[in-house]
Symmetry: none
């Protein structure tokens, strides 16, 4: 079954609202195993809605429409469906009675134009909308289905779940399960290259997505039973994990900060940081994890060199190796660990940009993690992004280094 | 000029992400006076993208595409445009050199498939993307324009503003001038209410946009000459500023952090912070302003109470008034100002969530700014957002309080 979504509303085309209804329906269709190939947003204009409907009618079995079923003149969804199918809208006595009862109950007069919300065409059945005034339409004709629902999200969600999904189940075969793996330390292209032939697999499918804080690998399986779908996903997950190894840091919902937070809390260990180029963003990212106060004690944003020395970095280290050096990063990690009496300390120093510093180019970054078993360090690869990107990369690289320290995949000295 | 947006990406059709790029572009097109009639989301499938492009080519003058220009096999936007126009993709030597230089600089090998990001067709010019690896395409043929941009929002925003909008101005009738006023301290609805009748003005138009860090008021004037358009904008700006008063903190490109940064640097004054609920985000936001090392000395993320006391907050204050109190915020601001020897110090304490603390509800926040003329304080209004929202609101409120201190619109005691 091929589905297509058409969202009606001029406010969508003016950017006043974002079409989150389409996102909701897309997610639901995926779990129902219904293929969705096209989504469109169209203004409140009958000509353009009919044009979009005609195209959809040619290529899709199920057309899901939201919006445009209110009482006002610019609501044109019912009129457009009627025009597409060459059928006449007629007031349905039962729907009209329900509608008038709503107004009577609210002790308000019903504007006469609202009666158009009580209309049907011969191919349409009404979809109940107990939390709004406009019922939806379920239209079946010539092997096609058109569903028209309100644009107001909570009315649409209810109508979809309670009225539409039960009717659709008669038409769908199969169930879908998905699993998301989160990967750090490889770019999106490198992840695809590593996964090789698996990327071309048809069931389950594998797809990669570059996110701000990771590369995501989504595994999606379709099967007749949920056991079978789960089994397919589990096998593919195992293969993907073998290939990507320790670069996989978590699954759906995990972040580097939540993964290290949970690991530290399980061990009953604590963390502090001293950062300069990241300017507080490392501490802020660590504290985005909601129970971070259990393991994160505090941080120093040592933006000036004097603050570094004041907080325990030896002056000789800075003078001998420079502020932008591995030695200073090590000294920062060690100093903050001692100052705030924590099990682990992270130090970051580098050049965020826009100007170079100590003759080191923008994007240079040195990171050190000091812990009970010694120190590990890494050097940033010299990113050439803007200031915000350099900060973000440095934060993620530091968190990933701590994650590897905790996992035992780097050797402290 | 009739425009149409096509967003490419299977993740849109699976509901993994919402098409906020379309919202952004819709808003921008509206201010440019370009009519937008259709928006579509299509999966990463060349056949379906070409089908959508063909329809768009028949009915629209300007086709704006986002997504699908990455290096992987499922990225099919360039291939689809080439198929639509019957032109061959060829590697452009200059683009290839730029791309390889990025990898050389980062000391990473370039996966060979990435070279497809350096291709053009005869009708296409490259659109620069200094913050990502994939350049965009500007295609002009037979009176139509196709623009292809990355799907990653921050790369797309930059490319649209810096590369595409200037090129488009040659095609829009008349001259358009816009001016953006940035407002803090009033919600979007309140700004609209204050502006009253001005919102219904037709030339210049006024539109409000709720952003993460401010409410933006965009003034847009259309005229035959630039002098005329500038004059219209200037008059309306004057009227809006009179109404909104000190809530206007800047214009396009300004942030609260840049405004206070510039003000402090002009005065030759310095700043430090001690923050708990914001967890480093205050310092990080201050250092997002690129020359912040001139005025920002450092920060303390005093996540635990011990760190607060270690850094100079009197133990008696915490014991007597509690950690979540105006008195502790004042003591934090005063302590860090003394510890790091700066002209101004900011203290923030509060409850980020998800759990209440000291019987204070989530969202409670106390902020103090200590400076040469005394201390000013404010209490957060008790936001009921999630953890991330509470952190963000607290950071902005603190920066705004310092801005008002510097502007002399609050009275220190």
């Amino acid at each position: 079954m091929r589905a297509e979504i058409i969202s009606c509303g001029t406010e969508l085309l003016l950017g006043h609202i974002t079409d989150t209804n389409a996102t909701y329906l897309s997610q639901s269709l995926a779990t129902l195993g219904i293929d969705l190939y096209f989504v469109s947003q169209v203004g409140d204009n009958q000509g353009r809605i009919v044009e979009t409907l005609q195209k959809a009618w040619q290529r899709s079995d199920l057309i899901i429409m939201t919006g445009g079923i209110g009482p006002t003149e610019d609501d044109a969804t019912r009129e457009s469906i009627s025009a597409l199918l060459g059928e006449q809208m007629q007031v349905d006595p039962q729907l009209e009675a329900n509608l008038r009862a709503r107004y009577t109950h609210a002790s308000r007069p019903m504007p006469e134009r609202n009666v158009k919300q009580a209309t049907l065409i011969p191919s349409a059945q009404a979809l109940a909308n107990p939390i709004g005034s406009a019922p939806g339409w379920w239209v079946e004709k010539d092997g096609h289905i058109i569903v028209a629902m309100p644009g107001v999200p909570r009315e649409m969600y209810r109508m979809w779940e309670e009225e539409v999904v039960p009717k659709l189940s008669a038409f769908t075969g199969g169930l879908i399960f998905t699993r998301l793996l989160r990967v750090y330390g490889l770019g999106e292209a490198a992840v695809e290259e590593e996964l090789g032939e698996l990327i071309h697999n048809t069931n389950p499918t594998l797809a990669t997505y570059a996110k701000n804080d990771a590369v995501d690998v989504r595994i999606t399986a379709k099967a007749q039973t949920s056991e079978e779908a789960l089994q397919l996903v589990a096998e593919m997950e195992e293969r993907a994990r073998q290939i990507l190894g320790e670069h996989v840091f978590g699954i759906e919902g995990d972040t580097l900060a939540s993964v290290i937070g949970k690991a530290l809390q399980e061990r009953g260990q604590t963390l502090s940081v001293m950062e300069s180029l990241t300017g507080g963003q490392l501490a802020s990212t660590i504290t985005d994890f909601q129970s971070s106060s259990k393991h994160f004690i505090g941080g120093i944003v040592s933006y000036s060199t004097d603050v570094k020395i004041q907080m325990g970095v030896p002056k000789e280290t800075v003078e001998r190796y420079g502020v932008i050096s591995e030695e200073t990063a090590r000294a920062m990690a060690t100093a903050v660990r001692q100052l705030l009496k924590t099990d682990f300390g992270i130090g970051i120093t580098g050049v965020a940009g826009p100007d170079k510093q100590e003759e080191k180019p923008v994007g240079t970054v040195y990171i050190a993690v000091a812990g009970p078993e010694g120190i590990v360090t890494c050097m940033g690869p010299g990113w050439r992004g803007g200031r915000a990107d350099n900060k973000r990369h440095a934060v993620l690289t530091a968190l990933n280094l701590l994650r590897r320290y905790l996992a035992g995949t780097v050797s402290p000295e």
